[in-house]
């Protein structure tokens, strides 16, 4: 009984990493997308961040506004990259790739989680970019190895979370046109109903409630805690991790149930 379970689990983990490996191999053949993606966080930090920092319109307590939004912009660019990840599976469905993987004995959850992790690894380049920009702008970063490792893990998990969410949408809408529509509709509310570019404290009551239900809020809080020197967590890093991990697990489970719909 236990040995079957262990066998299933190791098989699942092994297959997940096979899927991730091959998604990443594609990057090695064509890495232009990594470069073009650098633009968006640069615009947010260099233009939006600088202007709002000067205006002093948003009070962020004892940390400067630019320091405050640097982790927020990292979370945002992870969200923006991950939320459109599902378009790939629609493309793979229009070809016959999804069908062929589904006709193989690979566990469905491994197909979903493997793709999620690859999205996660892809977004690590966003972390490098945001760190470079932060250095340039004089943000006081925490360079302790433990903090850096935490940032790495949080970014990968957050991208896994949102790309799996994206994959679920793709399984439901199935066409590129509808997917782009839904993607556009979801990104901005997720972004604005979070603590990415302003603190929750200054939000009206109804928005506070929504932002507490938004996983991005916990991603931002965790990143802010680990990225900045001398920053403290609003919710506690443990709760942040718990929310992120639990949401990801639930989404992978739903994704694995819905993924076979792409073959029909």
């Amino acid at each position: 009984m236990t040995s079957t379970f262990i066998h299933l689990l190791t098989g699942f983990i092994e297959k997940t990493f096979v899927i991730t490996e091959f998604e990443l191999r594609k990057l090695r053949h064509d890495f232009t997308e990594l470069i073009t993606r650098a633009l968006q966080p640069a615009l947010w930090l260099l233009i939006f961040g600088q202007v709002f920092s000067r205006s002093g319109a948003i009070h962020t307590g004892n940390i400067p506004y630019l320091d405050f939004i640097a982790p927020g912009i990292l979370a945002q660019s992870v969200l923006f990259v991950a939320i459109f990840y599902g378009i790939n599976v629609i493309w793979e469905r229009d070809l016959g790739i999804v069908q062929k993987f589904l006709a193989s004995p690979t566990p469905r959850a491994a197909l979903v989680l493997g793709k999620g992790f690859s999205a996660g690894t892809r977004t690590l380049s966003q972390a490098v970019i945001v760190y470079c920009l932060s250095l340039l702008l004089g943000v006081k970063l925490n360079w302790s190895p433990l903090a850096l490792l935490n940032v790495l893990v949080i970014v990968v998990l957050a991208a896994t979370l949102f790309s799996t969410f994206s994959l679920i949408i793709a399984c439901i809408v199935k066409t590129r046109e509808r997917f782009m529509g839904v993607g556009q509709v979801l990104t901005m509310p997720l972004f604005f109903a979070s603590n990415a570019i302003y603190p929750i404290a200054i939000m009206p009551g109804w928005l506070k409630t929504i932002s507490h239900l938004n996983p991005l809020t916990y991603v931002v809080d965790a990143l802010r805690t680990c990225m900045l020197a001398g920053s403290t967590s609003a919710f506690g890093l443990g709760l942040d991790y718990a929310v992120i991990l639990l949401t990801t697990t639930i989404l992978v489970f739903i994704g694995a149930r819905l993924y076979p719909r792409l073959a029909t």
């Binding site: 297959k15 096979v18 490996e21 091959f22 191999r25 594609k26 053949h29 064509d30 229009d94 070809l95 016959g96 790739i97 069908q99 062929k100 993987f101 589904l102 006709a103 193989s104 004995p105 690979t106 076979p260 073959a263 029909t264």
Partner: protein, 288 residues
């Protein structure tokens, strides 16, 4: 049948002969298999059996239910009712065992253009749990078998249509499946590429005893390669037998074309849905 597959896998035998698959074995057993989409019945109480080592062609006009049948047999689509066993396993209750025993080449392009030919094979070697030390040899052998040895390191995006199809066949037979399902394997290919694909498929059966179950529009392909064919119309099998049998069933001097029109109906009464047609044309465009 089940235990034998496991024995083969355990021994890791290479190059099974026809003797390993006696022709009398039934490898696909379909009983009153039905699939409805809302009020529309795509496959209607289909009953059919295919012998091990047979080359079996499923013919019919667009929308006759060929692809839906293949999707159910490959466990991609659950049936509404009825049952089928593939390689001895139930498609409903033993889906994972079925998946281990089959290979599937969908109609649309199913290899990844942004990976090399070698990488496309490597990922499936890993997903099908080929023993580590055998992976490289199997991949090399598969590339050689399909005439792709020189192109294994190239990106598949640069392949020609015929090469893509051959790679897809290599990919879905790497684990030596008992049954290979092919949905319109030669759609969009020029006659020379079509011949090359068929040459490799015939070799596959001769060397490994693989049962080939495929759909096609091309009657001459069915005539020259199939042991038996079934003609589907509106979800049912209207005619079943060898090409010769079907031709003589209409009386002396009939061609397979006349048999097809007789059983499948004129091309006017159906043409498939918009999605079927656009998918087929897109495939033809990508391969051609």
């Amino acid at each position: 049948m089940g235990p034998r597959i496991h024995r083969q896998r355990a021994e890791g035998r290479v190059g099974l002969g026809l003797d390993d698959f006696p022709m009398s074995d039934t490898v696909i057993e379909i009983k009153t298999l039905t699939r409805r989409f809302g009020a529309f019945t795509a496959v209607d109480a289909l009953t059919l059996s295919v012998n091990a080592g047979e080359v079996f062609g499923l013919l019919g006009s667009n929308g006759a239910g060929k692809t839906t049948t293949i999707k159910m047999l490959t466990t991609l689509l659950p049936p509404s009712s009825g049952e089928a066993r593939v390689a001895g396993f139930s498609i409903s209750t033993q889906a994972v065992d079925v998946r281990r025993s089959i290979g599937y080449v969908p109609q649309a392009v199913s290899v990844d253009g942004s990976l090399t030919g070698y990488e496309n094979l490597l990922i499936f070697a890993k997903l099908y749990d080929l023993p580590h030390r055998e992976q490289q040899a199997r991949i090399r052998e598969a590339l050689e078998f399909m005439g792709l040895t020189a192109d294994g390191g190239r990106l598949v995006g640069e392949y020609s249509g015929g090469m893509v199809r051959r790679l897809e066949i290599a990919q879905s037979t790497l684990h030596r499946p008992r049954v290979l399902f092919l949905d319109e394997p030669t759609v969009g290919l020029d006659p020379i590429a079509r011949d090359a694909v068929w040459k490799h498929l015939v070799d596959l059966r001769a060397n490994y005893g693989t049962t080939l179950f495929f759909t096609t529009h091309y009657l001459e392909e069915a005539e020259s390669h199939c042991d038996r064919i079934a003609i589907m119309r509106q979800g049912k099998v209207d005619a079943l037998g060898t090409c010769k049998e079907l031709e003589t069933s209409l009386g002396p001097g009939h061609t397979l074309n006349e048999v097809f029109v007789h059983y499948a109906g004129s091309a006017l009464d159906s043409g498939g849905t918009f999605r079927d047609v656009s998918a087929e044309r897109a495939t033809a465009q990508r391969l051609g």
